[in-house]
Amino acid sequence: MTPLIDVVQVSIDGVMTGSGYALLALGFTLMFGVMRRLNLSFGAALMLGAYAAGWLHLHAGFGALAVAATTVVVATLAGVYIERLCFAPLRGRDAIASLVSSFAVWMQLEELATLMLPRHTNAFPALMDGDPFLFGPFHVRPDQIVMLVIAVALMLLVWLTLHRTRAGLALRVLADQPGAALAVGIDIRSTALMTFAAASALGGIAAFLILAGDRQVTPMFGMWATTKGLIAMMLGGLGSIPGAVVGGLALGLIEAHAQWRLGPQGRDLLAYALLFLCLVWRPGGLFGQTLADTEATARARL
Protein backbone atom coordinates (compact mmCIF):
# COMPACT_ATOMS: atom_id res chain seq x y z
CA MET A 1 0.00 0.00 0.00
CA THR A 2 1.64 3.22 -1.13
CA PRO A 3 0.67 6.36 0.67
CA LEU A 4 -1.44 8.76 -1.35
CA ILE A 5 0.98 11.55 -0.46
CA ASP A 6 3.71 9.90 -2.54
CA VAL A 7 1.41 9.46 -5.50
CA VAL A 8 0.50 13.15 -5.41
CA GLN A 9 4.12 14.25 -4.96
CA VAL A 10 5.23 12.17 -7.95
CA SER A 11 2.34 13.56 -9.99
CA ILE A 12 3.35 17.14 -9.12
CA ASP A 13 6.90 16.43 -10.31
CA GLY A 14 5.48 14.81 -13.43
CA VAL A 15 3.39 17.85 -14.32
CA MET A 16 6.40 20.14 -13.83
CA THR A 17 8.56 18.04 -16.18
CA GLY A 18 5.62 17.58 -18.51
CA SER A 19 5.22 21.34 -18.96
CA GLY A 20 8.73 21.37 -20.48
CA TYR A 21 7.81 18.44 -22.76
CA ALA A 22 4.65 20.29 -23.77
CA LEU A 23 6.70 23.29 -24.97
CA LEU A 24 8.93 21.00 -27.05
CA ALA A 25 5.86 19.26 -28.49
CA LEU A 26 4.30 22.64 -29.23
CA GLY A 27 7.36 23.61 -31.28
CA PHE A 28 7.15 20.35 -33.25
CA THR A 29 3.42 20.77 -33.74
CA LEU A 30 3.68 24.31 -35.13
CA MET A 31 6.27 23.21 -37.68
CA PHE A 32 4.39 20.04 -38.52
CA GLY A 33 1.13 21.92 -38.95
CA VAL A 34 2.60 24.25 -41.53
CA MET A 35 4.92 21.86 -43.39
CA ARG A 36 3.31 18.45 -42.73
CA ARG A 37 6.87 17.37 -42.22
CA LEU A 38 8.89 16.29 -39.18
CA ASN A 39 11.88 18.44 -38.37
CA LEU A 40 14.21 15.86 -36.83
CA SER A 41 16.92 18.46 -36.21
CA PHE A 42 14.69 20.47 -33.87
CA GLY A 43 16.47 19.09 -30.78
CA ALA A 44 19.87 19.71 -32.37
CA ALA A 45 18.99 23.38 -32.96
CA LEU A 46 18.09 23.74 -29.28
CA MET A 47 21.28 21.94 -28.28
CA LEU A 48 23.37 24.30 -30.41
CA GLY A 49 21.70 27.23 -28.66
CA ALA A 50 22.43 25.70 -25.26
CA TYR A 51 26.04 24.95 -26.20
CA ALA A 52 26.67 28.48 -27.47
CA ALA A 53 25.23 29.77 -24.20
CA GLY A 54 27.25 27.23 -22.19
CA TRP A 55 30.42 28.34 -23.98
CA LEU A 56 29.74 31.98 -23.08
CA HIS A 57 28.95 30.89 -19.52
CA LEU A 58 32.32 29.14 -19.30
CA HIS A 59 34.50 31.67 -21.11
CA ALA A 60 32.75 35.00 -20.63
CA GLY A 61 31.02 34.40 -17.33
CA PHE A 62 27.52 34.91 -18.68
CA GLY A 63 24.86 34.74 -15.96
CA ALA A 64 21.55 32.92 -16.10
CA LEU A 65 19.57 35.61 -17.98
CA ALA A 66 22.28 36.23 -20.59
CA VAL A 67 22.57 32.48 -21.04
CA ALA A 68 18.80 32.25 -21.52
CA ALA A 69 18.86 34.99 -24.16
CA THR A 70 21.78 33.38 -25.99
CA THR A 71 20.09 29.97 -25.99
CA VAL A 72 16.93 31.41 -27.50
CA VAL A 73 18.67 33.58 -30.11
CA VAL A 74 21.06 30.86 -31.34
CA ALA A 75 18.31 28.21 -31.35
CA THR A 76 16.12 30.56 -33.42
CA LEU A 77 18.92 31.24 -35.91
CA ALA A 78 19.55 27.49 -36.18
CA GLY A 79 15.82 26.93 -36.78
CA VAL A 80 15.82 29.49 -39.60
CA TYR A 81 18.93 27.85 -41.09
CA ILE A 82 17.21 24.42 -41.00
CA GLU A 83 14.07 25.75 -42.70
CA ARG A 84 16.03 27.42 -45.50
CA LEU A 85 18.29 24.41 -46.03
CA CYS A 86 16.06 21.36 -45.48
CA PHE A 87 12.47 22.46 -45.94
CA ALA A 88 12.09 25.48 -48.24
CA PRO A 89 13.84 23.88 -51.25
CA LEU A 90 12.01 20.55 -50.76
CA ARG A 91 8.51 21.94 -50.39
CA GLY A 92 5.97 19.66 -52.06
CA ARG A 93 8.44 16.76 -52.37
CA ASP A 94 8.19 13.42 -50.60
CA ALA A 95 8.42 13.47 -46.82
CA ILE A 96 11.52 11.27 -46.91
CA ALA A 97 13.58 14.04 -48.58
CA SER A 98 13.18 16.56 -45.78
CA LEU A 99 13.38 13.79 -43.16
CA VAL A 100 16.80 12.69 -44.40
CA SER A 101 18.10 16.22 -44.91
CA SER A 102 17.00 17.30 -41.44
CA PHE A 103 18.72 14.21 -40.04
CA ALA A 104 21.93 15.27 -41.81
CA VAL A 105 21.68 18.77 -40.37
CA TRP A 106 21.13 17.23 -36.94
CA MET A 107 24.54 15.53 -37.21
CA GLN A 108 26.11 18.75 -38.51
CA LEU A 109 24.76 20.89 -35.66
CA GLU A 110 25.75 18.29 -33.08
CA GLU A 111 29.33 18.23 -34.41
CA LEU A 112 29.44 22.02 -34.32
CA ALA A 113 28.28 22.03 -30.71
CA THR A 114 30.79 19.42 -29.56
CA LEU A 115 33.59 21.35 -31.29
CA MET A 116 32.69 24.31 -29.11
CA LEU A 117 32.60 22.33 -25.86
CA PRO A 118 34.34 18.98 -26.34
CA ARG A 119 33.76 17.67 -22.82
CA HIS A 120 30.83 15.35 -22.30
CA THR A 121 29.36 17.24 -19.36
CA ASN A 122 29.31 21.03 -19.35
CA ALA A 123 28.13 23.38 -16.66
CA PHE A 124 24.89 25.26 -17.21
CA PRO A 125 23.84 28.03 -14.82
CA ALA A 126 20.89 27.42 -12.53
CA LEU A 127 18.02 29.86 -12.85
CA MET A 128 17.62 30.11 -9.10
CA ASP A 129 18.73 28.41 -5.96
CA GLY A 130 16.74 28.08 -2.83
CA ASP A 131 14.89 25.59 -0.74
CA PRO A 132 11.79 23.88 -2.07
CA PHE A 133 8.50 25.46 -1.20
CA LEU A 134 6.32 23.42 1.09
CA PHE A 135 2.63 23.12 0.34
CA GLY A 136 1.39 21.05 3.28
CA PRO A 137 3.20 17.74 2.97
CA PHE A 138 4.29 18.41 -0.64
CA HIS A 139 7.41 20.17 -1.79
CA VAL A 140 8.09 21.89 -5.10
CA ARG A 141 11.41 23.36 -6.26
CA PRO A 142 11.32 27.06 -7.17
CA ASP A 143 12.76 26.42 -10.63
CA GLN A 144 9.98 23.89 -11.25
CA ILE A 145 7.41 26.56 -10.45
CA VAL A 146 9.13 29.04 -12.78
CA MET A 147 9.13 26.43 -15.55
CA LEU A 148 5.42 25.73 -15.09
CA VAL A 149 4.47 29.43 -14.98
CA ILE A 150 6.54 30.29 -18.07
CA ALA A 151 5.24 27.22 -19.92
CA VAL A 152 1.60 28.15 -19.21
CA ALA A 153 2.27 31.78 -20.19
CA LEU A 154 3.89 30.70 -23.46
CA MET A 155 1.01 28.36 -24.28
CA LEU A 156 -1.43 31.22 -23.79
CA LEU A 157 0.79 33.48 -25.90
CA VAL A 158 0.87 30.90 -28.70
CA TRP A 159 -2.91 30.51 -28.55
CA LEU A 160 -3.48 34.27 -28.63
CA THR A 161 -1.00 34.74 -31.47
CA LEU A 162 -2.70 32.01 -33.51
CA HIS A 163 -6.20 33.34 -32.95
CA ARG A 164 -5.77 37.09 -32.64
CA THR A 165 -3.03 38.12 -35.06
CA ARG A 166 -2.66 38.25 -38.81
CA ALA A 167 0.48 36.09 -38.71
CA GLY A 168 -1.44 33.53 -36.64
CA LEU A 169 -4.25 33.51 -39.19
CA ALA A 170 -1.72 32.84 -41.97
CA LEU A 171 -0.25 29.95 -40.00
CA ARG A 172 -3.63 28.37 -39.27
CA VAL A 173 -4.83 28.78 -42.84
CA LEU A 174 -1.67 27.16 -44.17
CA ALA A 175 -1.94 24.28 -41.71
CA ASP A 176 -5.63 23.75 -42.47
CA GLN A 177 -5.76 23.84 -46.28
CA PRO A 178 -2.50 24.62 -48.07
CA GLY A 179 -4.09 24.59 -51.53
CA ALA A 180 -6.46 27.40 -50.69
CA ALA A 181 -3.91 29.31 -48.60
CA LEU A 182 -2.28 30.45 -51.83
CA ALA A 183 -5.65 31.46 -53.25
CA VAL A 184 -6.35 33.87 -50.38
CA GLY A 185 -2.90 35.41 -50.69
CA ILE A 186 -0.79 33.76 -47.99
CA ASP A 187 2.95 33.95 -48.70
CA ILE A 188 4.07 30.40 -47.90
CA ARG A 189 7.79 31.22 -47.89
CA SER A 190 7.62 33.85 -45.19
CA THR A 191 4.96 32.05 -43.17
CA ALA A 192 7.01 28.83 -43.06
CA LEU A 193 10.16 30.74 -42.10
CA MET A 194 8.33 32.65 -39.38
CA THR A 195 6.87 29.41 -38.01
CA PHE A 196 10.27 27.74 -37.78
CA ALA A 197 11.71 30.81 -36.06
CA ALA A 198 8.86 30.95 -33.55
CA ALA A 199 8.95 27.20 -32.86
CA SER A 200 12.72 27.31 -32.32
CA ALA A 201 12.46 30.32 -30.00
CA LEU A 202 9.81 28.46 -28.02
CA GLY A 203 12.02 25.38 -27.94
CA GLY A 204 14.99 27.54 -26.90
CA ILE A 205 13.09 28.78 -23.85
CA ALA A 206 12.10 25.21 -22.98
CA ALA A 207 15.69 24.03 -23.43
CA PHE A 208 17.02 26.75 -21.13
CA LEU A 209 14.47 25.99 -18.41
CA ILE A 210 15.09 22.23 -18.57
CA LEU A 211 18.90 22.56 -18.62
CA ALA A 212 18.92 25.18 -15.86
CA GLY A 213 17.06 22.61 -13.75
CA ASP A 214 19.70 19.97 -14.60
CA ARG A 215 22.58 22.49 -14.23
CA GLN A 216 24.47 20.76 -17.00
CA VAL A 217 24.31 20.14 -20.73
CA THR A 218 25.59 17.07 -22.57
CA PRO A 219 25.70 16.16 -26.28
CA MET A 220 22.74 13.88 -25.62
CA PHE A 221 20.43 16.86 -25.20
CA GLY A 222 19.61 17.19 -28.93
CA MET A 223 18.51 13.57 -29.18
CA TRP A 224 16.68 13.83 -25.87
CA ALA A 225 14.72 16.95 -26.85
CA THR A 226 13.78 15.52 -30.25
CA THR A 227 12.51 12.22 -28.86
CA LYS A 228 10.63 13.77 -25.93
CA GLY A 229 9.00 16.36 -28.15
CA LEU A 230 8.11 13.78 -30.80
CA ILE A 231 6.63 11.29 -28.34
CA ALA A 232 4.60 14.02 -26.63
CA MET A 233 3.33 15.28 -29.99
CA MET A 234 2.42 11.80 -31.20
CA LEU A 235 0.61 11.02 -27.93
CA GLY A 236 -1.44 14.20 -28.18
CA GLY A 237 -2.04 14.06 -31.90
CA LEU A 238 -0.19 15.27 -34.98
CA GLY A 239 -0.71 18.93 -35.66
CA SER A 240 -3.01 19.60 -32.71
CA ILE A 241 -2.10 22.48 -30.37
CA PRO A 242 -4.16 21.26 -27.39
CA GLY A 243 -2.87 17.77 -28.19
CA ALA A 244 0.73 18.95 -27.78
CA VAL A 245 0.00 20.37 -24.34
CA VAL A 246 -1.94 17.32 -23.16
CA GLY A 247 0.60 14.94 -24.70
CA GLY A 248 3.48 16.71 -22.96
CA LEU A 249 1.77 16.67 -19.57
CA ALA A 250 0.72 13.03 -20.03
CA LEU A 251 4.27 12.02 -20.93
CA GLY A 252 5.64 13.86 -17.89
CA LEU A 253 3.16 12.18 -15.56
CA ILE A 254 3.67 8.70 -17.00
CA GLU A 255 7.46 9.03 -16.87
CA ALA A 256 7.46 10.28 -13.30
CA HIS A 257 5.37 7.36 -12.11
CA ALA A 258 7.31 4.84 -14.17
CA GLN A 259 10.60 6.15 -12.80
CA TRP A 260 9.26 5.86 -9.28
CA ARG A 261 8.04 2.29 -9.74
CA LEU A 262 10.41 0.86 -12.35
CA GLY A 263 13.55 3.02 -12.28
CA PRO A 264 15.07 5.07 -15.14
CA GLN A 265 15.36 2.17 -17.63
CA GLY A 266 11.75 1.21 -16.97
CA ARG A 267 10.75 4.85 -17.50
CA ASP A 268 12.23 5.07 -20.99
CA LEU A 269 10.99 1.59 -21.88
CA LEU A 270 7.46 2.57 -20.93
CA ALA A 271 7.63 5.88 -22.84
CA TYR A 272 8.61 4.10 -26.06
CA ALA A 273 6.14 1.26 -25.48
CA LEU A 274 3.42 3.85 -25.07
CA LEU A 275 4.41 5.54 -28.33
CA PHE A 276 4.26 2.14 -30.04
CA LEU A 277 0.84 1.29 -28.61
CA CYS A 278 -0.44 4.73 -29.49
CA LEU A 279 0.70 4.34 -33.11
CA VAL A 280 -0.93 0.91 -33.34
CA TRP A 281 -4.24 1.66 -31.66
CA ARG A 282 -4.76 5.36 -32.05
CA PRO A 283 -2.50 6.58 -34.84
CA GLY A 284 -4.06 10.01 -34.69
CA GLY A 285 -3.12 10.45 -31.04
CA LEU A 286 -5.66 11.83 -28.60
CA PHE A 287 -6.64 14.89 -30.65
CA GLY A 288 -5.13 14.80 -34.09
CA GLN A 289 -5.51 13.40 -37.56
CA THR A 290 -4.03 10.08 -38.63
CA LEU A 291 -0.79 9.97 -40.56
CA ALA A 292 -2.73 8.84 -43.63
CA ASP A 293 -4.93 11.94 -43.45
CA THR A 294 -1.95 14.24 -43.12
CA GLU A 295 -0.22 12.53 -46.02
CA ALA A 296 -3.31 13.19 -48.13
CA THR A 297 -3.26 16.88 -47.26
CA ALA A 298 0.48 17.01 -47.86
CA ARG A 299 -0.11 15.72 -51.39
CA ALA A 300 -2.69 18.42 -51.93
CA ARG A 301 0.09 20.94 -51.25
CA LEU A 302 1.18 22.61 -54.43
Binding site: R166, L169, A170, R172, V173, D176, Q177, G179, A180, L182, A183, V184, G185, I186, D187, L302
Partner: protein
Protein backbone atom coordinates in the same frame (compact mmCIF):
# COMPACT_ATOMS: atom_id res chain seq x y z
CA UNK B 1 -10.52 42.91 -68.14
CA UNK B 2 -8.49 39.73 -68.64
CA UNK B 3 -6.33 39.18 -71.72
CA UNK B 4 -4.48 35.89 -72.00
CA UNK B 5 -2.07 35.42 -74.89
CA UNK B 6 -0.25 32.25 -75.87
CA UNK B 7 0.11 30.83 -72.36
CA UNK B 8 2.19 27.67 -72.00
CA UNK B 9 2.20 25.89 -68.63
CA UNK B 10 3.66 22.47 -67.97
CA UNK B 11 4.40 19.85 -65.34
CA UNK B 12 7.86 18.47 -65.94
CA UNK B 13 8.09 17.49 -69.60
CA UNK B 14 4.34 17.56 -70.16
CA UNK B 15 2.81 20.75 -71.48
CA UNK B 16 -0.72 20.97 -70.12
CA UNK B 17 -1.38 24.31 -71.83
CA UNK B 18 0.00 24.54 -75.35
CA UNK B 19 -0.46 28.21 -76.12
CA UNK B 20 -3.83 29.38 -74.86
CA UNK B 21 -5.25 32.70 -75.99
CA UNK B 22 -8.55 34.06 -74.71
CA UNK B 23 -10.07 37.04 -72.97
CA UNK B 24 -12.81 37.89 -70.48
CA UNK B 25 -14.66 41.18 -70.88
CA UNK B 26 -15.37 43.50 -67.96
CA UNK B 27 -18.75 43.00 -66.32
CA UNK B 28 -19.42 39.82 -68.30
CA UNK B 29 -19.60 36.11 -67.58
CA UNK B 30 -17.08 34.17 -69.64
CA UNK B 31 -17.15 30.38 -69.56
CA UNK B 32 -14.50 27.84 -70.35
CA UNK B 33 -15.80 24.38 -71.23
CA UNK B 34 -13.95 21.22 -72.04
CA UNK B 35 -13.42 17.57 -71.15
CA UNK B 36 -11.40 16.35 -68.18
CA UNK B 37 -7.69 16.79 -68.69
CA UNK B 38 -8.11 19.58 -71.24
CA UNK B 39 -6.10 21.92 -69.00
CA UNK B 40 -8.92 24.07 -67.60
CA UNK B 41 -7.79 23.93 -63.98
CA UNK B 42 -4.17 24.39 -65.05
CA UNK B 43 -5.24 27.61 -66.76
CA UNK B 44 -7.03 28.81 -63.61
CA UNK B 45 -3.95 28.06 -61.49
CA UNK B 46 -1.77 29.86 -64.04
CA UNK B 47 -3.92 32.99 -63.86
CA UNK B 48 -3.92 32.87 -60.05
CA UNK B 49 -0.12 32.47 -60.03
CA UNK B 50 -0.24 29.13 -58.22
CA UNK B 51 1.37 27.59 -61.29
CA UNK B 52 3.98 29.63 -63.13
CA UNK B 53 3.46 29.81 -66.89
CA UNK B 54 6.53 29.07 -69.01
CA UNK B 55 5.62 31.50 -71.75
CA UNK B 56 2.94 33.94 -72.72
CA UNK B 57 1.23 36.91 -71.18
CA UNK B 58 -1.65 37.39 -68.76
CA UNK B 59 -2.90 40.95 -68.52
CA UNK B 60 -5.37 42.29 -66.02
CA UNK B 61 -6.69 45.65 -67.22
CA UNK B 62 -3.55 45.97 -69.30
CA UNK B 63 -1.22 45.16 -66.42
CA UNK B 64 1.02 42.11 -66.88
CA UNK B 65 0.51 39.63 -64.02
CA UNK B 66 2.07 36.45 -65.47
CA UNK B 67 4.92 35.24 -63.24
CA UNK B 68 3.85 37.22 -60.19
CA UNK B 69 3.56 35.47 -56.82
CA UNK B 70 0.02 34.34 -55.93
CA UNK B 71 -0.34 36.86 -53.10
CA UNK B 72 0.59 39.72 -55.46
CA UNK B 73 -2.04 38.51 -57.93
CA UNK B 74 -4.71 38.44 -55.22
CA UNK B 75 -3.60 41.95 -54.29
CA UNK B 76 -4.03 43.12 -57.88
CA UNK B 77 -7.68 42.03 -57.80
CA UNK B 78 -7.99 38.39 -58.86
CA UNK B 79 -9.76 35.91 -56.58
CA UNK B 80 -10.00 32.17 -57.20
CA UNK B 81 -12.80 29.88 -56.06
CA UNK B 82 -10.73 26.71 -56.32
CA UNK B 83 -11.80 23.37 -57.71
CA UNK B 84 -13.23 21.14 -54.94
CA UNK B 85 -13.97 24.30 -52.93
CA UNK B 86 -11.01 23.82 -50.53
CA UNK B 87 -12.57 25.65 -47.59
CA UNK B 88 -10.49 25.71 -44.41
CA UNK B 89 -12.14 22.68 -42.78
CA UNK B 90 -11.07 23.16 -39.17
CA UNK B 91 -11.80 26.88 -39.05
CA UNK B 92 -15.20 28.39 -38.47
CA UNK B 93 -17.27 29.82 -41.31
CA UNK B 94 -16.57 33.34 -40.01
CA UNK B 95 -12.83 32.67 -39.83
CA UNK B 96 -12.92 31.36 -43.40
CA UNK B 97 -14.34 34.69 -44.51
CA UNK B 98 -11.75 36.62 -42.48
CA UNK B 99 -9.03 34.52 -44.10
CA UNK B 100 -10.42 35.57 -47.49
CA UNK B 101 -9.65 39.17 -46.52
CA UNK B 102 -6.11 38.26 -45.44
CA UNK B 103 -4.42 40.90 -47.59
CA UNK B 104 -6.76 43.71 -46.53
CA UNK B 105 -5.99 45.94 -43.56
CA UNK B 106 -9.29 47.82 -43.19
CA UNK B 107 -10.66 45.94 -40.18
CA UNK B 108 -13.94 47.83 -39.94
CA UNK B 109 -14.68 47.40 -43.64
CA UNK B 110 -13.85 43.70 -43.42
CA UNK B 111 -16.41 43.26 -40.62
CA UNK B 112 -18.99 45.10 -42.75
CA UNK B 113 -18.25 42.87 -45.75
CA UNK B 114 -18.68 39.75 -43.61
CA UNK B 115 -22.14 41.00 -42.62
CA UNK B 116 -23.02 41.81 -46.23
CA UNK B 117 -22.05 38.30 -47.33
CA UNK B 118 -24.07 36.82 -44.47
CA UNK B 119 -27.06 38.80 -45.81
CA UNK B 120 -26.47 37.34 -49.23
CA UNK B 121 -25.89 33.79 -47.94
CA UNK B 122 -28.17 33.45 -44.90
CA UNK B 123 -27.25 29.78 -44.55
CA UNK B 124 -23.67 30.84 -43.81
CA UNK B 125 -24.84 33.22 -41.08
CA UNK B 126 -26.73 30.36 -39.41
CA UNK B 127 -23.51 28.37 -39.42
CA UNK B 128 -21.10 31.24 -38.68
CA UNK B 129 -19.47 29.53 -35.69
CA UNK B 130 -19.51 26.03 -37.17
CA UNK B 131 -16.37 24.35 -38.53
CA UNK B 132 -16.40 24.67 -42.31
CA UNK B 133 -15.55 20.98 -42.72
CA UNK B 134 -18.95 20.07 -41.27
CA UNK B 135 -20.92 22.00 -43.94
CA UNK B 136 -22.70 20.29 -46.82
CA UNK B 137 -21.13 20.42 -50.28
CA UNK B 138 -23.42 23.22 -51.42
CA UNK B 139 -22.76 25.27 -48.30
CA UNK B 140 -19.03 24.77 -48.72
CA UNK B 141 -19.32 26.02 -52.29
CA UNK B 142 -21.16 29.14 -51.11
CA UNK B 143 -18.48 29.64 -48.48
CA UNK B 144 -15.73 29.30 -51.08
CA UNK B 145 -17.44 31.93 -53.23
CA UNK B 146 -18.00 34.24 -50.25
CA UNK B 147 -14.40 33.79 -49.15
CA UNK B 148 -13.17 34.79 -52.61
CA UNK B 149 -15.43 37.87 -52.58
CA UNK B 150 -13.88 38.97 -49.28
CA UNK B 151 -10.79 40.15 -51.16
CA UNK B 152 -13.06 42.51 -53.17
CA UNK B 153 -11.85 41.14 -56.51
CA UNK B 154 -12.14 42.86 -59.88
CA UNK B 155 -12.08 39.43 -61.50
CA UNK B 156 -13.62 36.31 -59.96
CA UNK B 157 -12.26 32.96 -61.18
CA UNK B 158 -14.57 30.04 -60.48
CA UNK B 159 -13.26 26.53 -61.07
CA UNK B 160 -16.08 23.98 -61.50
CA UNK B 161 -18.41 25.36 -58.83
CA UNK B 162 -21.07 22.73 -59.64
CA UNK B 163 -18.73 19.75 -59.20
CA UNK B 164 -20.31 16.95 -57.18
CA UNK B 165 -23.41 18.91 -56.20
CA UNK B 166 -27.06 17.81 -56.46
CA UNK B 167 -29.03 19.37 -59.38
CA UNK B 168 -31.05 21.68 -57.12
CA UNK B 169 -27.88 22.99 -55.49
CA UNK B 170 -26.27 23.44 -58.91
CA UNK B 171 -29.18 25.68 -59.89
CA UNK B 172 -28.68 27.70 -56.71
CA UNK B 173 -24.98 28.10 -57.46
CA UNK B 174 -25.77 29.38 -60.97
CA UNK B 175 -28.36 31.76 -59.50
CA UNK B 176 -25.56 33.13 -57.35
CA UNK B 177 -23.32 33.48 -60.41
CA UNK B 178 -26.07 35.46 -62.17
CA UNK B 179 -26.55 37.66 -59.08
CA UNK B 180 -22.84 38.40 -58.81
CA UNK B 181 -22.90 39.39 -62.47
CA UNK B 182 -25.83 41.77 -61.85
CA UNK B 183 -23.77 43.41 -59.10
CA UNK B 184 -21.07 44.12 -61.68
CA UNK B 185 -18.53 41.37 -60.93
CA UNK B 186 -16.49 40.11 -63.86
CA UNK B 187 -16.62 36.32 -63.84
CA UNK B 188 -14.44 33.76 -65.56
CA UNK B 189 -16.01 30.35 -65.03
CA UNK B 190 -14.70 26.87 -65.74
CA UNK B 191 -17.43 24.28 -66.04
CA UNK B 192 -18.20 20.69 -66.89
CA UNK B 193 -21.91 21.35 -66.81
CA UNK B 194 -22.18 22.85 -70.30
CA UNK B 195 -25.97 23.11 -70.22
CA UNK B 196 -26.02 25.37 -67.14
CA UNK B 197 -22.94 27.29 -68.18
CA UNK B 198 -24.37 28.20 -71.60
CA UNK B 199 -27.48 29.60 -69.89
CA UNK B 200 -25.51 32.23 -67.96
CA UNK B 201 -22.49 32.84 -70.21
CA UNK B 202 -22.17 35.88 -72.46
CA UNK B 203 -19.17 34.40 -74.14
CA UNK B 204 -17.65 30.95 -74.02
CA UNK B 205 -14.59 29.01 -75.06
CA UNK B 206 -14.08 25.33 -75.70
CA UNK B 207 -10.79 23.88 -74.63
CA UNK B 208 -9.43 20.56 -75.83
CA UNK B 209 -6.00 19.04 -75.13
CA UNK B 210 -4.42 22.23 -73.90
CA UNK B 211 -5.69 24.46 -76.66
CA UNK B 212 -8.73 26.66 -77.25
CA UNK B 213 -10.71 25.03 -80.07
CA UNK B 214 -13.63 27.43 -80.21
CA UNK B 215 -14.60 30.85 -78.93
CA UNK B 216 -17.89 32.62 -79.42
CA UNK B 217 -21.31 33.44 -78.02
CA UNK B 218 -23.71 30.71 -76.83
CA UNK B 219 -25.94 31.04 -79.91
CA UNK B 220 -23.10 30.46 -82.32
CA UNK B 221 -22.82 26.72 -81.84
CA UNK B 222 -25.63 24.21 -81.35
CA UNK B 223 -25.88 23.16 -77.71
CA UNK B 224 -25.65 19.52 -78.71
CA UNK B 225 -22.34 20.09 -80.34
CA UNK B 226 -21.01 22.12 -77.41
CA UNK B 227 -22.01 19.39 -75.00
CA UNK B 228 -20.50 16.74 -77.22
CA UNK B 229 -17.21 18.58 -77.43
CA UNK B 230 -17.22 19.73 -73.80
CA UNK B 231 -17.57 16.21 -72.48
CA UNK B 232 -15.84 14.07 -75.06
CA UNK B 233 -13.72 16.39 -77.18
CA UNK B 234 -13.84 16.55 -80.96
CA UNK B 235 -14.33 13.24 -82.72
CA UNK B 236 -11.43 12.53 -84.97
Amino acid sequence: MLEIADIVTGYGKIEALKGVTLSAAEGRITCLLGPNGAGKTTLMYSIAGILRPRRGSIRLKGEEIAGRAPDRIVASGVALVPENRLVFPQMSVRENLQAGAYLRRDTAEIARDVEKLFDRFPRLRERAAQQAGTLSGGEQQMLAVARALMSRPRLLLMDEPSLGLAPLIVEEIFRIVAELHRDGTTIFLVEQNAHMALKVAHHFYLMEQGKVSFGGTPGQLAEDEVIQRAYLGTRR
